[in-house]
């Protein structure tokens, strides 16, 4: 043993003696907060990083990265630094499952976050008991994740920090019920998310407005660039309003092409659940028709709290961009994990999952309550209308409509 090693061993020994001593007699179980972690905490993230929706991955990584840098600068989690790595899920379940296995088996991740696509979330969620790591989903919105996977099948490792399709399918209808519109049509993605949102929208709206009719629907395959045939198909029956859940570059192409087809002059309302995503706002810019109703999973101007303002300014400082909603959800996911590790004093999956259940967090998007039953974070995100404001390099939202989350979230037992 060299002198330096000897000294080091001595120091560690002394420290641990002091640490044990500090508890003192009679204090029983160590307070978890006093515990120190020795190894870095590893978080494996995945998101779509290529193709027409590839912007999402970049924005998601920026948010998570910012949280990791902030936490590490402030001393880490119980003394442990966080290490984070992102991989491309490619919106393909098999790829994402491979990524998850790589993260856990090879890279030795302690936690998993991310995931954009619903089918990917369901596939990865299903193997979480086997991998036995906490997964915090930051974007994929299918209600099957919290209602079936967690609540019905009892997969305790899976959580979601972002809003489920209730935002796109239920809240949208609660707002649309006031529109002077009797006929609706949809142009939406031909997969889980698109079909579920449209179904929820129809069921909810019909309850409020029995007079409303749903006159046409066209579901576009993933990777659609030409929406022309879809637009002309639904416009052939002259609907009064269009509901869409296209997102990313596909939402941009759809709006541009719909404009060329005169859709915005010939309908009374346009609703798009992910139309307020930063990439769509930036992508459409001045082309975004004023008055379109849009939402997302976090809007950087809501709520007007110190927390939120601080997050936006830090994000802008770090990345010279306004935060996308996936930036906020991934940022908050990292902080939720930090909170849970500190609360439980452990990085063991069961302990962290237990700590997350029922936790209330103060996040940029406002107070989030993580329901113990289905592991879904409950918080409010507004819908609003597109407006052009010279103070921002992209269109922003006006006429914000916020409804208490309890009123539009479905509740366990999801009968």
């Amino acid at each position: 043993m060299r002198r330096r090693d000897f000294l080091k061993a001595g120091l560690v020994g002394t420290a641990s003696l002091l640490g044990a001593g500090a508890l003192g007699p009679g204090e029983g179980g160590a307070a978890p907060a006093a515990k120190r972690l020795t190894k870095p905490i590893r978080i494996g993230g995945q998101a779509v990083m290529s193709g027409p929706l590839g912007g999402y991955g970049q924005f998601m990584r920026m948010g998570a990265q910012l949280a990791v840098e902030e936490i590490n600068r402030a001393g880490g989690i119980l003394g442990a630094k966080i290490e984070i790595e992102f991989r491309d899920e490619e919106l393909k379940p098999d790829v994402a499952v491979r990524n998850a296995r790589y993260f856990v088996d090879v890279w030795k991740a302690d936690f998993l976050i991310g995931i954009d696509s619903s089918s990917v979330a369901l596939a990865v969620g299903a193997i979480m008991p086997q991998l036995d790591r906490v997964l915090v989903v930051t974007h994929a919105a299918t209600e099957k994740l919290n209602e079936q996977l967690v609540f019905k099948q009892g997969i305790r490792q899976v959580f979601r920090i972002s809003v489920p399709v209730y935002q796109d399918g239920i809240l949208s209808a609660m707002i649309a019920r006031d529109f002077p519109v009797r006929t609706w049509a949809t142009i939406s993605p031909d997969y889980e998310y698109g079909h579920t949102s449209w179904k929820m929208f129809r069921e909810t709206l019909k309850r409020f407005r029995p007079d409303v009719e749903f006159v046409a629907e066209s579901f576009a395959k993933f990777g659609t660039v030409d929406f022309g045939p879809h637009i002309s198909k639904v416009m052939a029956v002259r609907p009064e309003a269009i509901f869409s859940t296209e997102w990313g570059g596909e939402a941009v192409a759809l709006v541009k092409q719909a404009k060329l087809f005169g859709v915005f002059q010939n309908t009374k309302a346009w609703m798009c659940g992910m139309g307020a995503a930063m990439d769509v706002l930036e992508g459409l810019g001045k082309d975004y028709p004023e008055g379109a109703w849009v939402s997302c999973r976090y809007w950087f101007q809501y709520p007007n709290t110190a927390e939120n303002r601080r997050f936006v300014s830090r994000f802008r400082e770090r990345w010279q961009k306004y935060p996308h909603y996936v930036s906020e959800t991934s940022y908050s996911a990292v902080y939720a994990l930090k909170g849970a590790v500190e609360k439980s004093g452990s990085i063991e999956t069961a302990a962290v999952a237990k700590a997350l259940e029922g936790m209330t967090l103060t996040t940029p998007a406002g107070k989030r309550h993580i329901r113990a039953e289905d592991h879904q974070a409950v918080y409010e995100v507004p819908w609003g209308r597109i407006t052009h404001d010279r103070n921002y390099p992209f269109p922003i939202l006006t006429d914000l409509r916020v409804v208490p989350a309890d009123q539009y979230y479905r509740h366990p037992p999801f009968a």
Binding site: M49, S50, G51, P52, L53, G54, G55, G57, Q58, D190, S218, F219, K221, G223, V225, D226, G228, P229, H230, I231, S232, K233, M235, A236, G248, G249, E250, V252, A253, K256, Q257, K259, L260, F261, G262, Q265, N266, D279, G283, L284, G285, K286, D287
Partner: protein
């Protein structure tokens, strides 16, 4: 009802024009060089991206920005002259490997230069409105694309059938060695054809820029359909490529209305049927 169907068809035809521009070059290159160029979709993508950069440089004037398209010629020239030329005499597998490698290289370069996020510049002023067709608003831009596509078709036909250069191309396509023996500088002709084909795809990409969102990887999306178009139309036949692009455009447009569940499969089914009944394609020449 009839009007709605005609309208839907017209939409399908106009959107088939992008496919035609890509398939035309693919077919031309195959017909003359006998190379199946996987990277042909990359020229579509690069055409869009080069135009995008020029668009920003020229303050948003789309027509001026099209001046960036000759950049495609330089890239295509380099690819043919320094790489492709060395595999003409090798097995097809080598050509596929090489051109597929180019797909990956072009995709990654695009991601490096222009970023991974899709981009969508505004529609050029003057073309960003609708005109009345069959009593309904129809995008003027789609009419413009239809016009360009048909004009290109006529132009290519004239070039190949009515000019000396076209005769040389046809001669080289028919019998490379004989053409060479007769004093035609075949390698140079090959380069020219390759560059022309790439330019057509690049033009398609550039014209798609104002109404599509462009992103790295967009080339792969269109190349698969372009392959179907070329196979259905007959490898090497431009008439075949034109008509089968229209056919696939119509299949899409009507498939979305009548068979939405199978819409994606329709083009593949068409290809399968053609391959079984007429393997040389609708307008191809039976070989051997």
């Amino acid at each position: 009802m009839i009007e709605a169907l005609l309208f839907q068809g017209l939409v399908g035809l106009s959107e088939a024009m992008y496919l035609w521009m890509v398939a035309a070059g693919l077919s031309l290159i195959f017909g003359v060089l006998r190379v199946l160029n996987f990277a042909h979709g990359s020229f579509y993508m690069l055409g869009a991206y080069l135009t995008l950069t020029a668009l920003r440089a020229f303050g948003g004037n789309f027509w001026l920005a099209l001046a960036a398209l000759p950049g495609i010629c330089v890239i295509a020239w380099g690819m043919e002259r320094f790489f492709l030329r060395h595999v003409y005499h090798l097995e097809v597998a080598y050509q596929l490997l090489l051109t597929f490698a180019f797909v990956l290289i072009f995709d990654d370069l695009t991601r490096l230069v222009w970023g991974p996020v899709y981009q969508a510049p505004p529609t050029p002023r003057g073309l960003d409105r609708a005109v009345s067709v069959l009593g309904r608003p129809f995008p003027l831009y789609n009419l413009f694309i239809l016009g360009v596509g048909v004009a290109l078709g006529v132009g290519l036909w004239l070039l190949l059938e009515r000019t000396r250069w076209g005769r040389l191309i046809r001669a080289a396509a028919m019998d490379r060695e004989m053409a060479s023996a007769l004093g035609i500088r075949v390698p140079r002709l090959y380069t020219a054809v390759f560059v022309l084909g790439a330019l057509l795809a690049g033009l398609g990409g550039a014209l798609s820029l104002p109404i599509h969102a462009v992103s790295p990887g967009m080339g792969e999306l269109i190349i698969i359909e372009a392959f179907i178009v070329v196979v259905v139309g007959g490898l090497g036949s431009l008439t075949g490529a034109f008509l089968s692009a229209l056919l696939i455009g119509l299949l899409h447009a009507y498939g979305i209305v009548f068979l939405p569940v199978f819409e994606m499969a329709l083009a593949f089914i068409l290809m399968a049927v053609v391959l079984i009944l007429r393997p040389w394609g609708l307008f191809g020449v039976r070989e051997g």
